[in-house]
Subunit: 527 residues, 2 copies
């Protein structure tokens, strides 16, 4: 019997076209448990139930949403060790420190931060013009589908991660899709979420629904459906682009986080000041988690000279010194290998000669290419090779480096290492504007991995890293603003206004009133 799906407030048998099993990436053997590939009948039923849930949720006090998020977080915390064990079996990412000390605590923290943002209310940018009486704020949007990726079974999981937390905190029901790389982990999370729903007074039973998988066509049909409002997606570019198209063509919002190769510019002064530090930081960033991070430094840009050559030599030694790690699944292994081949086909050469490791694995791979070759086919040479691989580009001079930067696609991050003593300042000034235009987060003197969950974070960036450069997938309260609509209330009687817009500030909400932020009541300052 296949495992169930969570539809309309109950765990029930899927209407399944087939089933699949998870695979242990270390052994490449199937794990126990048959998981369903849902047909349209399941998705259709979820959409109906989600619309009903939305009609309740849009009127709920923020406290109810917050209480649910906090309760769900506490349930994850209470079973952290089991969750970490299950996820490690399915992903080989490591029970500890990765899950126990990193990703699960982060996930719990995200749910709690989302709860705090919902309680605070300032995220909704309540705006009041006392002269005309117009008042506006962000309101819930409708049914939100969240599709999680393979590489973060908790922090970006469709039923537990940042998109999920943001969509719920903004007042929307979620239809969550698991990922075939970690079905048991996702199902356990969905179970905790549903328990928390049931135990939270006022939350409709279908506030959270969950399925494991569908056909690609049904996924697109789900996006296009009039009952759906938006998508939160983290994953590969081909999958993301197909869903984006289905959303775009039907006026649905698509918030996507797709590929990124995260250029790191190593200027000569910085290499001369602290070569060993930079090599060490690079190794930690590019090989950690077998390189399977959205912000993995897949592209290093340097200027011709001893500095970058020494960097390559030292990094190569370290790459060769140990076998490649275990990748998440066979698809990841194939995709990494074919990405490397695409980069080579433009003229890059492989400078490493290490060994593959256990299970699904590819040797740690460092490639290099000269600037002119890069510019001969900049699109192809930017193919994402997701995993323990990176490409070093050696530009002839700053002009060529700038020309290369100007060919870069949109990325989540871009780093520049420059001399503390100031020797690289001219080169920095030459490339910074074009680099920062092409990235969501501009970094100085450190590597891109490590995404702090703070308000000034931007885990986003220009297309095709995401679908809209104005939004972030990480960082409260901004991340809530993706899953909402702006509503202006014109001459609406005060008792009919949402509490955030009434004369009396319902808490300590920051509101934009007549051109300034204030926590005061309306009329309080007058008389």
């Amino acid at each position: 019997m296949a495992e169930p799906v969570l539809i309309a407030g109950e765990w029930r048998d899927a209407d399944a076209s087939s089933t699949f099993q998870a695979v242990n990436p270390r052994t490449t053997e199937e794990l126990p448990g048959d998981y369903p590939v849902s047909t349209w009948q399941d998705l259709d039923a979820m959409l109906d139930a989600a619309v009903d849930a939305y009609r309740v949720m849009r009127l709920l006090p923020a406290e109810t949403l917050a209480a649910f998020l906090d309760l769900y977080a506490s349930k994850i915390e209470a079973d952290i060790e089991t969750l970490a064990t299950v996820a490690d079996e399915e992903t080989a990412l490591g029970k500890s420190p990765r899950f126990m000390n990193g990703e699960i605590p982060r996930t719990i923290n995200q749910l709690q931060q989302a709860a705090a943002a919902a309680r605070d209310g300032s995220w909704a940018t309540p705006t009041i013009d006392t002269g005309t009486g117009l008042r506006s704020m962000m309101r819930p949007l409708g049914v939100v589908c969240v599709f999680g990726p393979n590489n973060f079974p908790f922090a970006y999981n469709g039923v537990a991660g940042g998109d999920f937390a943001a969509a719920i905190a903004a007042g929307n029901p979620v239809i969550a899709k698991g990922h075939p790389s970690h079905p048991k982990t996702s199902q356990m999370l969905a179970e905790f979420a549903f328990e928390a729903v049931k135990e939270t007074d006022g939350m409709p039973a279908s506030a959270v629904q969950f399925f494991q998988r569908s056909s690609r066509d049904d996924g697109a049909k789900l996006m296009a459906d009039p009952r759906n409002a938006a998508l939160g997606f983290t994953g590969s570019r081909p999958a993301g682009m197909a869903l984006k198209k289905a959303c775009d063509d039907n006026g649905k919002l698509a918030y996507l986080e797709m590929s990124s190769i995260n250029p790191v510019v190593l200027l000569p002064g910085a290499l001369s000041e602290k070569l060993d530090d930079i090599v060490e930081q690079f190794l930690g960033s590019v090989l950690m988690g077998c390189g399977q991070f959205c912000t993995n430094p897949g592209l290093v840009l340097g200027l011709k000279g001893d500095g970058i050559e020494s960097f390559i030599t030292k990094a190569t030694e370290q790459f060769n010194a140990k076998p490649g790690g275990t990748l998440l699944n066979e698809a990841g292994q194939k995709s990494l290998s074919s990405g490397i081949e695409a980069i080579k086909s433009v003229g890059a050469t492989c400078v490493t000669e290490g060994q593959a490791g256990d299970g699904f694995s590819v040797p740690n791979t460092l490639l290099k290419i000269d600037g002119a070759s890069f510019l001969s086919d900049p699109e192809k040479v930017q193919t994402e090779a997701f995993g323990n691989s990176s490409l070093v580009v050696i530009a002839d001079d700053v002009d060529q480096l700038l020309a290369i930067v100007r060919t870069l696609e949109g990325n989540l991050t871009g780093c520049v290492y420059s001399a503390a003593a100031g020797g690289d300042d001219e080169a920095y000034a030459a490339i910074e504007p074009d680099l920062s235009d092409r990235v969501g987060r501009l970094i100085n003197d450190k590597m891109p991995t490590g995404v702090a969950v703070v308000s000034a974070q931007n885990h986003g960036g220009p297309y095709p890293a995401t679908g809209h450069p104005g939004f972030t997938a990480v960082g409260f309260p901004a991340t809530l603003r993706r899953f909402c609509k702006l509503t202006s209330y014109d001459n609406v009687r005060e008792a009919r206004l949402p509490d955030l817009l009434q004369d009396t500030n319902p808490g300590s909400v920051w509101r934009w009133v007549d051109g300034a932020y204030t926590q005061a009541d309306i009329g309080a300052a007058v008389g």
Copy 2:
């Protein structure tokens, strides 16, 4: 010789595939002046120049952008009478009060508000997390194309209106397209804009470029081009949808304001309290400017009974009492007539029998339909009949009214008139959540026309009224946030940060620091 276009800092002959003339809508005769239909060669040249301009503008102090906007506003003000005369000839909307006392002053005010928003800086939501050192803000986006509509030759003009002002204030160059209904008005505005560019120290000559028209294919090619970043569009649904698709398919942002029929619900208690007032307000709103407003009340929803019947009787008398006004152009006349026919084909009957007026004109038209017939083809009966026409729907009861509301497409506005004494409160509560979900601005007890340019305005709404329900085309500073990208600065040395993110607040900018808005310097509160 055809009139010139403004490309790369000079007025020059277009590379034109053909020319066109404006038409006086009152006489239906052509006005003097041949205007060019630009080929791709012109658009290509504008894109190159705009990229160069962007590279300068992204580094400009906000004061430069603001000074340009203020200077441009003053130039329009200085020649207001000529502009009003020219625009009236091209549109028949009326020199005064429409242009002299309404639209041109509003346009001047919008440019000045955009300047003030740029100077203030709070629009960019500077965000600082002192714990991690991460700092983020909205930054300019790139080249913005702005396509204006037929019905607002100033306030929404591609080279003078709200989208233009917002794009420039946020630091982006604009490629503006005129509208064939008012080419001379647009050209004069572009002339003033270019003079202001030249007279503003630091503004690149190609900050503003202008063309009159292109083929549809070239318009789509302009959107898709890698050098373009975004579109601001106001106009018809077919044109908007074609441009949206070209943007979506290529990862460009499309901010569109398309069709809207602006439902107005008249509840029985309100009709019983103040029927004559409501009829008068409705007439003013639906026939003003010959009904050619984005927020024209094209759909009235009532409950079966004496109230709505009396409303229809009184409105019909007034509709019949005078001939229809003059529409903007022949296309508008045809589109209005065919919209009325589409609505009739679903079962609506025309209750008016007035006369057409001068030039391009259609009789004032009031239609009515019962709720069941509306629900038989809700999509078709919502066809926009843009002009001096409206459809009254008579629902059997509140349940059917709610069912009708739930079939409504996204609209800019939705109104509810309800009894002051409270007799309609139950019906209001039943329909408000679904109505407000489907509109950008929810209104009580007044008609939708009249869009105040204030911070709490939302001139936007769910698809297909616009392409994204989170943004507004009117209302500073929010409207600037469409034409920008979020950039996070991680570990970036302080001297390299934009001034809005440095420790010292460069003015009185509101910044979100560690979870609260403040105008203080960083570190100022400590010690």
